[in-house]
């Protein structure tokens, strides 16, 4: 596999005080990882920085302390120094937010901090993690990214790739955006796999809001939502590109499924090449708007960007078991095609996280053995029209199939353990 940055031997986990102080400092507007890092080097531990800020000397004391003897780094902006003073006096509010959002502050000296991220040019000073940070540090991490406005085919491909990666044991990383990102995360959740979403703002500023449910499902399924920004940070034009460097930097490889000519996914791909990560691009039709960026990238980076020729091929190129490209097939579907699944079944609840109440009722009725619309209507008490529409929605998501007036669960829903009545 690809090279993984080494954890500095000297690093010892931070004390709780320093960890809290770091969280507070990260909440200071304009204080990026570079500046913060130098500040800490000059003054000492994060808690020392706050002590100086509280010492009564105010902003100029910070400024003074930050001045380097050689004069090479004298430019801590005044507003930032003032921000640090303000933060030092309101630590409780910031820390309360961190607790309320159930965030863990993971620093480069922590075991859970992704080793790959330590090695990028400007590593984050800390990560705010909602959920379980362990998937951040697994053997193979692959990012699946793309446009916010994909074609239906693109969405499907993203789901297939993400699901196959999850089945192969990789952690799928993406950006929790609508479109390809969302499809990739959702597919992994549906597989019962762990996925990590890097967001471009504070945890209390989730964007888009509609993805709160998806975020909750990711966390429930053992994955994590990660940000280098403290709570309260508004996502902006500036934060998303920074976030993209984390997506690529925390991964062994980046897969771009669909990207328009100006898609942010291309930035992630560029970061990947810069950071020495493998970069895979799904080619598309030359007249498809959603693929223009992919094709352009392949053309601009011959030999560097690689083509995704198929899901098994991608897994093979990544050194993962290509057999994972095949979804689990239930033996009930075809007598002569019984493929056993190695994937842990997903709970029905996780599969139906995006389902509306009628879909929910129909899915449960099918799991309970109903097969015809007569039975579905009788069991759910819904109208024929409502049941038929819900079946279509479930079918669109590959959870139900219908033939000749008979319906059955399909895909992950067919493999899911029956819920307790």
């Amino acid at each position: 596999m690809l090279g993984v940055g080494e954890r500095p031997d000297a690093a010892r986990p931070l004390s709780d005080d320093d960890r809290d102080a770091l969280a507070v400092l990260l909440a200071v507007h304009g204080l990026g990882p570079l500046t913060l890092g130098r500040l800490i080097v000059r003054i000492g531990a994060p808690s020392r920085v706050l002590e100086v800020a509280r010492s009564g000397g105010g902003a100029s004391a910070i400024h003074e302390a930050a001045r380097s003897p050689g004069g090479d780094w004298a430019s801590l902006p005044k507003t930032v120094a003032e921000g640090i003073v303000t933060a030092a006096t309101t630590t409780d509010r910031i820390l309360a937010d961190v607790r309320r959002l159930e965030l863990r502050v993971v620093t480069p000296s922590d075991r859970e901090f992704p080793a790959r991220l330590r090695a990028i040019e400007i590593p984050p000073a800390a990560l705010f993690v909602r959920g379980d940070p362990t998937p951040l540090a697994v053997q193979t991490v692959v990012a699946v990214v793309g446009t916010r406005r994909p074609s239906e085919a693109g969405r499907r491909v993203a789901s297939r790739i993400a699901a196959a990666l999850a089945r192969a044991g990789a952690t799928v990383v993406s950006g929790l955006a609508v479109g390809i990102d969302g499809a990739a995360h959702a597919a992994v959740v549906a597989e019962g796999g762990r996925t990590v979403a890097y967001i471009g703002g504070g945890h209390d500023r989730l964007f888009p809001r509609a993805h709160e449910r998806l975020a909750a499902a990711i966390v429930d399924a053992g994955g994590a939502i990660v940000s280098e920004y403290a709570p309260g940070t508004q996502p902006s034009k500036g934060t998303f590109p920074q976030r993209n460097r984390l997506i690529s930097g925390s991964s062994d490889a980046v897969v771009v499924v669909e990207a328009g000519a100006r898609s942010g996914a291309l930035l992630t791909a560029s970061w990947a090449l810069e950071q020495g990560r493998e970069c895979f691009v799904v080619p598309g039709p030359i007249d498809a708007v959603a693929s223009a960026g992919c094709l352009g990238f392949l053309r601009d980076w011959p030999g560097a960007a690689r083509i995704v020729a198929g899901v098994p091929q991608l897994l093979d190129d990544l050194g993962l078991p290509a057999g994972a490209a095949l979804g689990p097939v239930r033996s009930i579907t075809a007598g002569d095609r019984i493929v056993s699944s190695t994937v842990t079944p997903v709970s029905v609840a996780a599969l139906l996280v995006e389902a509306d109440p009628v879909q929910h009722a129909v899915a449960l009725a099918l799991l309970a053995g109903a097969t015809t619309v007569d039975e579905l209507v009788a069991v759910t008490g819904q109208t024929v029209a409502a049941v038929l529409g819900a079946v279509t929605r479930l079918e669109s998501r590959g959870l139900v199939r219908g033939n000749g007036g008979r319906y059955e669960t399909a895909g992950r829903l067919a493999a899911a353990p029956a819920p307790a009545a």
Partner: protein, 529 residues
Amino acid sequence: MLATLLSATLVALDGRVIRVEVDVAPGLPGFTIVGLGDASIREARERVRGALRNAGFVHPPRRITVNLAPADVPKTGPAADLAIAVGILIGSEQFTARGDRVALIGEVSLGGDVRAVPGLLPMVAALARHGVRRVVVPAAATQEARLVREIESVPVATLAEAVDALRARRRAPPARPARVELAATAAGDGDASRLPGPAVAGFGLQPGIPDLAEVRGQVEARRALEVALAGGHGLLLIGPPGTGKTMLARTIPGLLPPLADEDALGATIIASASGEGPIRGLIRRPPFRAPHHTSSYAAMVGGGRSISPGEVTRADNGVLFLDELAEFSRDVLEALRQPLEDGRVTIVRAGGRAATMPARFQLVAATNPCPCGHHGDADGSCVCARGVAEAYVGRISGPLRDRVDLWVGMPRVPPRVLVAGPEPEASAVVATRIAAARSRQLARQGRRLNARAGGRSLRAIARLTSTTAGRLAALAEHEQLSGRGTDRLLRVARTIADLESADAVAIEHLEEAARWRAPARRPLTALAV
């Protein structure tokens, strides 16, 4: 002497006025008919000869020449018999007719009776358009003739009555038991003797038509049938034997609203030209034709020398139900192409003459998924060899596939639903919704139902928003629908919206409609797995 009278003949659905010139001249006795007549016209000689004798007239032992003009109109059938017989009587000076433009339509029997002929209505209409004010018609078809108000129809039961009618001054029309027959009129093709009386207006009471209340379970197919009838969409029911496919389709006559005036006139003309039996008034019940799967090509499409309408035309403005669809011959199914695409059928006769007749029927079909019928049945009881089911339904191809908007599976109904399921809705209730949905469509887009709305107008009436258009695109992409398949889905969704009185198609309408899409590029059997 020469006698000239008017009569008419039928070309496809049109009446054509013809002139019957009868010359009775001295010379060797003989009887010749000239002027592009078919075999039944030549046989008129024998019928007329016998009728004259047996009705107490003289068949003159002279040279009789009958010319049917104009020469370029093909004359068929026995409708000119009566004019020929009367022409001989006038030509041989056995009586003198009053008035100049004497018109007669009717077949005569050897015994001198005047019999009804197919196509009387369009023929009488043609005479009226020609300016004729009075026509002698077979008494048995009086009411049919009198549908044309612009002309006085004089009913006669025998040749003798015809002579009387023409010789005499105008007589009062005979007092026929009009009341009873008119009562039956409302029922159209029903069994008149069993009807309660003139109050019969609703169609749901027809004997022999099952009511939807008798069909248990099958809620999906019932819903699909309602949608299909509301929008005029092609419907295909697929399922194992005994699940109610035929039964469900047979309820259709009780669900369709009566025809509007113009369509009713068309239906009556087609019924007349088809010789369907006595017509006692304007036929308002939409036709429901269910030809057997052994029907010949000519029976389905139309044909014969007189180009009589086939089933596709007789189902115009109504429903053509093809039960056991896969059992129909390939030729017959192929022949449905033009009518399904254009709403009319063109018949080209050997002589190069062609006739075009309307055929705007709604297709409803039923089939088993395989020859034994059990392919895909839950109990796995199909005994057909591998591949047989695919071949069986593979016959349903091309234009038929394209014109079926709704593909509906009818699985076996569990016995407990058959016996104790909820009480199903009655036809009358469903018919009301269908009628309301149809009037919305007609008010919005003229005489076209949604099934025939195409391309641009379909987009216009669907009133998609960016959200609904997006969902439609997603469904089409997920199901890999062709452009045509996408239009079909949208049309059905439009009808579902009309059933709800919704102005715009909404996502839930699209999602319901998607249930009944055609199987994509798969053999039909995939439906039955």
